[in-house]
Structure formats: C-alpha cells, structure tokens
C-alpha cells in the first residue's frame, strides 16, 4: 500500500518537530500564566498590596551613604537609585582593584624566583579557599578594631583623618573659572586618542614607531597643571573638622565600604590570578622563542606576542569573575554597607511588604548588570580574536 498524503505529512520530520515544539511552548506559556494568576489571586485573598504605586511614596527612612541627594522625604524610587549607585560603586572599585592585584599575582606565580612564586601561590590558595562572607566579617571587624575613636584620629597633614567612623578627606571645591581646566582636560584626552590612532596607522604604513603613550601622558598632565597655574589655582579645599561625635565637612569613606571592597577585590583577585596564569601558560613556548629569534626585546615579546594571545584565553573566564564580584557585592547587607539589597530588598521591602515587586526589581538589576558586563567583555574579546589576513 502506498503511503497516503496524510501519513506523509504526519511522519514528516519537520512537521513532527514543529508539533512538539508547539506543545512545549504552550505548556511553558500556560505554566507561566498559571503562576502569575495564582500569585495574584493568593495575594488578593491574603490582603497583600500589589503594584508599583509605592515607588512614588515618601520612604521615611535614612540611608547612611548616598551618592545623590536623599532624605526621609525622598521616594522609594530614590532609595532604589541610592542603593543601585552604591552597588555600582562597590562593584566598580572592586573590579578595578581585583584586576590589578589578580594580574600581578598571576604573573608572580609564574616567576622563576622561588620566593615570589611561593608567596603568590600561598596567597591564592589561602584566599580562595575561605568563604567570602567570613572574609568580609574578618576585614570589617579587623578594620574597626584597629582604628581609633574619632577623638584620637590618625592625622595626615591636619587635613586627612582616619578613625573607626571612616576616612575623611578634604573635599575640593572648584570655584568660578575652573571650568576652563576641565574643558582643556577633556580636549587633551581626545587629542591623545587621535595621536594613538595616527601613530598606529603610520606604523602600519611605514614601520616608524612613535612614543604615543609617553607623549599623551605628558600632554594631559602638563596641560592640566599649566591651566591650573594660568587660572591662578581656583580650587579651595573643605577640610573635615571634628564637631561633636564625628568629623563634618570634606569627603568621607565609610569603613563598611573599605572593608567590603577590600574583601571583594582580594577574594576575586585570587581567582583572577589563576585565570591569568592559565592564559599565559596556554601560549606555546614556540611563540616566545620565535619572537626572540626575530630580535624583539623582552618587554616587547611580552606585550606584543604573549599577552595578546593569552588574553584570548583569559577574557571569557575573567568575565565570569567580574560577574561573580558584582553578585557577591550583595553580601554587603551583613556589614551594614547600604547597597541595593540592604536598602531596597531590605528596608524598603520591610516597610512596604511588597516582596514580589521589590525582589523582582532587584533581580532585574543584577540580571541587567551581568548581561551588560558580558556584552562589554564579549566585545573586548572579539577585538582580541586572531586577525585573519
């Protein structure tokens, strides 16, 4: 019997595939719909408020460290922004220091000097095998215990003060006429970028090198100080002063921020060091030997041959470490650093009781931050790929 058109259709692999995918998709959609519906009905039944109206209501609580203007009469949305900025601050500083320290220890561990290699190895093995939360507590209480009370502050030049309430620095106030300095500063940076592009192109064309880095650095620093002098130093400093319990005025770094960024960078640096070591070891020895045999200097061998190839191996796992650091910053709540989790998923959640909305927003923020970091690092990775000619 010849197969009918219908059975042909039924047993077609594409048709079957589409059919099962459609079933899976509808089950997923129904599942999501059911969860949303059920949650909404249960919340109604239990008299729980829902929706995002609370974002416009006055928060009525204070936050210890704010990068924007904030008071108890600000809204919950402002509190959200304050928490978000504090999280970004910790993540940004943490990533910066973790990268530097991590690269340093990664290279040290490969050193031919026995002592240096062992120091790096000990650091890495100790730090990455102790839970991060314990390290945060350790540094926080170590910092608190080591530092004196405000009245016995450690002083530097009568303008920088260190005590168990934080590090107090003079706050620069730029008076009128100082905007010129900033314009010139940005202009020199733009000029430097052009110099880099130009020197690279010229080198590709003619092979003649140009010391673009030293030249730009000298240009930026020189113009900055020249313009400061030309405008008659229109900068005054607000010096912190001991008034009552604490120092007032000036800039302030709270001990929670210091302990948290320190613990996060040290911890992540240990992992980054291993990533860097793996990356460098992945470059075959023949590359170094070939580079030397064409007469490159040692520094150039590292800069032009080994590191670009090592970065291809390093960047993807390095991205992971950056993401981990950002997400680990949510441990801040344990030591009173007012990050997004403490301020918004903590205080704001308690006061409004709107757990689903608030946790949803916080999850969204971390997801966005992680995806954003991934995109940046993927772009960087792409630029590092083997160029095919």
């Amino acid at each position: 019997m010849r197969p009918s058109k219908f059975s042909n259709f039924i047993f077609n692999r594409n048709v079957q595939g589409t059919f099962y995918q459609a079933i899976t998709l509808s089950i997923v959609i129904l599942g999501v719909y059911y969860i949303v519906q059920n949650t909404a009905e249960n919340m109604m039944a239990r008299g729980l408020a829902s929706g995002f109206h609370f974002l416009g209501v006055e928060s009525q609580f204070d936050i210890g460290m704010t990068l924007i203007e904030y008071s108890p009469t600000s809204t919950y949305f402002d509190a959200f922004i304050v928490g978000l900025l504090n999280t970004l601050l910790v993540a940004g500083i943490g990533i910066f220091f973790a990268t530097i320290v991590g690269f340093a220890f990664g290279i040290m561990r490969l050193s031919s000097n026995w002592l240096i290699a062992k120091i790096a190895e000990t650091y890495i093995e100790v730090i990455r095998n102790i839970p991060l939360l314990l390290q945060i507590f350790f540094w926080y209480f170590a910092v608190l215990r080591a530092l004196p009370k405000p009245k016995q502050s450690i002083e530097f030049m009568d303008s920088i003060f260190l005590n168990n309430r934080g590090l107090f620095l003079p706050d620069p106030n730029f008076s009128e006429g100082s905007s010129v300095i900033f314009y010139l500063f940005w202009i020199t940076i733009v000029i430097s970028i052009f110099i880099f592009i130009w020197s690279k192109r010229r080198q590709n064309r003619t092979g003649i090198t140009f010391p673009a880095f030293y030249f730009s650095a000298a240009l930026i620093v020189g113009v900055f100080f020249a313009s400061l002098a030309a405008t008659g130093f229109p900068v005054s400093f607000e010096i912190p002063e001991l008034k009552g319990f604490n120092f007032k005025g000036g800039m302030k770094l709270i001990p929670e921020l210091v302990a948290l960024t320190f613990a996060l960078s040290m911890y992540t640096a240990a992992f980054i060091a291993e990533v860097v070591r793996a990356g460098i070891m992945a470059v075959s020895k023949g590359q170094t030997e070939a580079a030397r045999s064409v007469g490159l200097k040692e520094g150039l061998v590292l800069r032009l041959i080994i590191i670009p190839q090592a970065l291809r191996v390093i960047v993807p796992p390095l991205t992971n470490q950056y993401l981990n650091l950002t997400k680990n910053s949510s441990l801040a709540a344990a030591i009173a650093y007012p990050d997004l989790v403490l301020v918004f998923a903590g205080t704001a959640l308690m006061q409004t009781g709107q757990a689903i909305e608030i946790i949803g927003m916080v999850m969204g923020v971390y997801l966005f931050l992680s995806l954003f970091t991934s995109i940046i690092m993927n772009l960087f990775n792409r630029s590092m790929r083997v160029g095919e000619r």
């Binding site: 009905e41 008299g47 729980l48 009525q60 604490n246 001990p255 709540a333 403490l342 009781g353 757990a355």
Partner: protein, 341 residues
C-alpha cells in the same frame, strides 16, 4: 500515544483547576499535631535558645500557650528563628503559623502586608543606649551621632522621625542581624545603639562589659509588640488572640501557675470556674476542648508568671514591671483582657 496525550491533558487540567483557597490553619495544625512558630534569632527574655536548643522567653510562651490550648501539651511547637527581614514573608508564605517575635503592631503592617495582629504581649518603646564614659545623659545630645540598628524594623523609621523632628543630623548604620549590631556597637563603630528598650535591656547582656553602658531616659516611640497571624483565617487568629487573653485574665483573677490546681478544685467564682473549664463551655466557640484555658495556666502560666520568669527584675534582662505599661490595669498599667466568656 493516546495515553501520553491523556496524561498531559489531565495534568494540565488538574494544575489549572488547583484551588486557590487553603484549608483552615487550625484544622491543619490539629491534623499534623504541631505548628510552626516564628521567633527571633536570640533575644534574651523574649525568645532565646539555651545550649540544648530549647527555646524560652515571653514570646516563646505565647506559642507554648497556643500549643497548650490546642493539644493540652505546651511543647507541640516547632520554632523557626527568623531575622526581622524574613519574618513577614515567612508568615505570608505559610512557613510559620504564628509569628511571635517582638513585632510592632502598626497600621501599614495590619492593613497592607496581609497580617493580623492577635493582641499585645509587651508594651515597649524605642530608646537609645550609649557608653557611660561618653557622658551623654539625654537623647537630645545625639546630634551628629552614628547610630547602629537593625534592618527591617520600625526602629529605622522612628529614628528617622526623631532626628528629623529635632533637626539633628545622624549617620544610620544598619545591619541585617542583631548580633552584628551588638558587635559593631561594642567595637565602637557607633555612638549609640537604638532599638526597643526591652531589646536594649536584652542585648546589653551580650556586650563585653554590660555595666559600661546606659540606656537614655527618652522613649521616642510606641511599640506594642504582639503575636501575628496571616490575614484571612479568623478561626486561627481567635485561638491565638484568646490564648494570650486567657493568660492576662488568669492573672487578673489571681489564677497562677502554682495555685491553679488547688484553686480550680474549690473555686466558687464563676469567672475563675470558666477559666478552669468547669463552666460556660468556652472551648466550643474556638473549636478547642473546654480545658483550654486551664491547660494554658497549668502548663505555661499566667501573664505575670511568664513576665517574672523571663524578663522580670530577678532575671538578667531585669525590666521592672510595676509602673510600666505592662502592669495589669488593676495596678495602673494598660494590660487589660476582654472577658473570656
């Protein structure tokens, strides 16, 4: 193939038609033979575990009273230690059935968060603790101070109100767990530690040198603390509310943990007879046995017994009852139970 299809369809239908409503908590509790009681992670006198993991305190005794009323056994309770931040979510999610964790009764919590307060077992107010050698004698001298406190409490809002109302500056240092607040305050991170005064008295026992600290005289807020249940289950709320009321009323009529057996045997006072479960059949309305209130007093005690045992003057917490709002209304306090009849 057909079987699989049917199975999938059946599963979908059963999932979609799952009832939203849930069985009454009291029936569930009776069936499983115990209930879950949310307590603190350790506030001496209120809810605190000993070295063997046995919980005690006046908040714990509310749960023990409920257990005595339902089961005639004060220990059919599973204690779930919660941070201030977790407590309401745990109750809403059904992880616990009663929250007895020095929780302040406020409008927004009652109306907005889906909670029902079952009464007040401690009238408290927020205060400040400072070191003795700071020389501070009044909360009005705290301008510019760093203030350590707990996350997720009314405390955060009260202190914001207090400093705002008196146009004083301050730096809030807010921790997730009470133990870290105590540690940080002890290490000198803050000039003052603020929470409910009972909490200050309790946490002070955890400081390195409790005698080097003093609680300032000002009370900056009203903090009626009491047990909480989920909204929408009136029968269960009634059981918790009347378990607490029975403890208060037993004290009003002189029925104590030590005399309950003898008094109940000979009493001719109708109120006492009702509390003893000999008259009036008060248990029926609550779906409990008639001896429910007798069991509470004989197994747990009346309010005064419980207070003196855990937070009274002869305990490390040492909160005098006379002259405080927690005295019975007969002694000038505000503790007053509606009649159990």
């Amino acid at each position: 193939m057909n079987n699989i299809k049917n199975a999938i369809l059946g599963l979908l239908c059963s999932v979609l038609m799952m009832p939203v409503a849930y069985a009454g908590t009291l029936d569930t509790v009776k069936e499983q033979g115990f209930f879950n009681c949310g307590v603190s992670q350790g506030v001496p006198g209120f809810s605190n575990p000993d070295e063997n993991g046995n919980w005690s305190g006046i908040d714990v005794d509310v749960c023990r009273a409920v257990s005595a009323a339902i089961f005639g056994d004060a220990d059919k309770v599973k204690y779930v230690p919660l941070t201030a931040k977790e407590r309401f979510t745990a109750l809403q999610a059904g992880e616990i059935d009663v929250l007895s964790r020095n929780t302040t009764w406020t409008l927004s919590r009652d109306a907005q968060i889906g909670l029902e307060f079952a009464g007040v077992n401690f009238y408290d107010g927020q205060g400040f603790m400072v070191t003795k050698d700071s020389g501070i004698t009044s909360a009005m001298e705290l301008d510019g101070a760093s203030v350590c406190t707990n996350l997720g409490t009314t405390t955060e809002l009260n202190m914001a109100d207090f400093f705002r109302a008196n146009s004083m500056a301050y730096e809030p240092v807010v921790f997730e767990k009470a133990d870290e607040v105590v540690n940080a305050y002890d290490e000198g991170r803050c000039d003052t530690y603020t929470t409910d005064k009972s909490g200050l008295a309790a946490q002070r026992t955890k400081l390195a040198d409790p005698d080097a600290h003093v609680v300032l005289p000002e009370t900056i807020s009203k903090e009626p603390l009491g047990p909480v249940v989920r909204e929408g289950d009136g029968d269960w709320a009634d059981v918790v509310r009347w378990s607490l009321n029975a403890m208060i009323e037993a004290e009003e009529f002189g029925l104590t943990n030590s005399n309950v057996k003898t008094t109940c045997a000979i009493t001719s006072n109708p109120v006492v007879a009702r509390l003893c479960g000999k008259e009036g059949g008060t248990g029926a309305g609550l779906n409990l046995g008639d001896s429910w209130s007798y069991d509470i007093v004989s197994l747990v005690g009346n309010y005064g017994d419980v207070y003196e045992k855990h937070v009274g003057e002869n305990t490390p917490v040492g909160l005098a009852r006379a002259g405080s709002p927690n005295a019975s209304y007969k002694n000038g306090g505000v503790l007053y139970a509606p009649p159990a009849r």
